[in-house]
């Protein structure tokens, strides 16, 4: 097992202050604190080489969990093991086999070219010359970094910078990679590139990847397995397909007809829309064969399509209060 998490908890004590002048002054003398349960009783394991998506709305506890796995935060309770190490012990051997990329923060040194950060990482991760040259060459090819290496980091676009961040994080060939919102703020095209890179890299090097994102695309493209977390609690751990089945007991039936008859569709399913020669219905999974054949018999069908509901819809359902899917 590459990552093992058992009954993990993290509480933060935060200072609360009401807005306004009076309360600003009052808080000088009497500070009020509130305990925030950022992570509550989370357990999961990830075998080596797997890519797992960590999904949840903002403030769900994804980043807090990742930070505990990377050794940045001290867990309030519970056990964490990553590649056989307890992250918070801060052992250099542990730090050498993990890497953390945060989409919102940069590890590249801001005013000088990315190559300088790469060289610093080479030294502090004690990467041999030969291995460094090889890895750098591979990353430069895969991420098309050549023209960026010598420009000051601050003059790079967000997408260019993100590619350099990934390279900086992978130079020491980590066994475990934590990606926290790696595609945040990127345009669709660059998101796609970053995704493809992560997928390829994982296949080639068998790196364990734990990825958080709120772009569905990242997760559907890369992960077979997802962890869904909300309000600090793990709501679901399993395959994407099973999640869809559990949460949405229906499929979308799209039928293209020569003309749309003016009838009630209730007998077939729940109408989503009917326009421009196309009828879309929500049909219970078990009724799909029956309903499709009825359509083919009764109407002049040009085309018929059966689809799972879009992932966004599934996730929205999963995030809803009280939904329990595991």
């Amino acid at each position: 097992m590459s990552i093992q998490v058992e009954h993990l908890y993290k509480q933060f004590r935060v200072h609360v202050r009401q807005p306004g002048w009076k309360d600003a002054i009052r808080s000088l003398f009497k500070r009020e604190y509130r305990t925030v349960e950022a992570v509550q009783d989370i357990s999961f394991t990830i075998p080596s080489g797997e890519i797992v998506g960590f999904l949840g709305p903002n403030g769900a506890g994804k980043t807090t969990t990742i930070k505990m796995l990377a050794g940045l935060l001290y867990p309030t309770a519970g056990h964490v093991q990553v590649a056989g190490y307890v992250p918070f012990e801060q052992k250099p051997e542990f730090k050498k086999i993990i890497s953390l990329v945060m989409g919102q923060k940069s590890q590249l040194i801001w005013d000088i070219p990315p190559m300088e950060t790469f060289l610093v990482n080479k030294a502090i991760y004690e990467i041999e010359d030969r291995v460094f040259r090889q890895t750098l060459h591979e990353l430069v090819e895969l991420l098309e970094l050549e023209p960026l290496l010598t420009k000051p980091t601050r003059s790079l676009s967000l997408g260019q910078r993100m590619k350099c961040e990934l390279a900086a994080a992978l130079l020491h060939r980590p066994q475990v990679l934590f990606l926290d919102e790696p595609t945040i703020g990127l345009d669709v095209h660059t998101q796609e590139k970053v995704r493809r890179f992560i997928g390829e890299y994982n296949r080639e090097h068998r790196t364990t990847v734990l990825l958080t994102s709120h772009y569905m695309g990242d997760v559907t493209a890369l992960c077979d397995r997802v962890l869904i977390i909300n309000h600090g609690k793990l709501l679901y751990d399993g395959g994407l397909d099973r999640l869809t089945e559990k949460l949405t007991p229906y499929k979308l039936l799209e039928v293209r007809l020569a003309s749309i008859p003016d009838i009630s569709w209730e007998a077939y399913g729940e109408l989503v829309e009917a326009k421009e020669g196309k009828v879309t219905l929500r049909v219970a999974r078990e009724r799909i064969p029956e309903v499709s054949s009825q359509f083919l018999q009764r109407f002049d069908v040009r085309d018929l399509n059966i689809e799972d509901p879009p992932m966004e819809e599934v996730i929205t359902l999963a995030f809803q209060e009280g939904s329990h899917v595991s």
């Binding site: 050794g71 940045l72 001290y74 050498k96 005013d111």
Partner: protein, 258 residues
Amino acid sequence: MFRKYVVLLRMKYVEMFAYRLATIVWMTGAMVQPLITMMVWMNIDPHQENAFIFYFAALIFVERMTSAWDVWEMEREIREGTYSYQIVRPFHPIHWAIAENIVYKALFFVILVPVWSILAIFVPALRLGQISGTQWLLFFCALLLGAVIRFLFSYMFGLLGFWITKVTAVYGMFEAVSLFLSGRIAPLSLLPPSVKTLSLYLPFRYMVGFPIEILNGDIRGLDIVFGFGWAVAWSLIFMLAVMLLWKAGLRKNQAVGG
């Protein structure tokens, strides 16, 4: 370790030149206060003009060689969350700060030494002929200790950033006290006797005043031994404090943002 330092020093050197102008402005800006203070003292006591010129010129040099800015950097990095990247890498963040200090101070050294030599041609008070070899040796040891104490003091406050978001405000208060007790406003020999005695036991004198006192001959013999004793003691105390605060701070760390 040595190779890591070589790489860090090179990187900090490149980075320093990325901010050429800022570095120069910052360096010359820091000379203004001692120069004005010098003129005030020369005006108060014109008989000792030469002694003041020497003291404050030496002060500018020692000040540049020992001053530490780490608390400002760390406050920003902890508050913005970029310090996280230093924690997850397998090399203690303090080494980055040490490398930065070495590079900037080396630059100040190579600029200030020739400037001093040229000025000495025109200003007799700055000529160094009367200083003995032993004095030089002791001066440089005291200077190194001063840089170490001041760096650790600043880094220690930087680590308090894990608890206090605006730690530079607290640091600023100590800086104000230090202005008097380190000998930056006036040579310690001119302070009221009680304040002077107090200054002997606090760390601030060993950050700035002590090396200058060795150089201008204000203190000799046992006084120097006494001074080194306290300087070493304060270095060790701050070193211990930094180690303990680092351990405790990591537990407290909220790794904000992201």
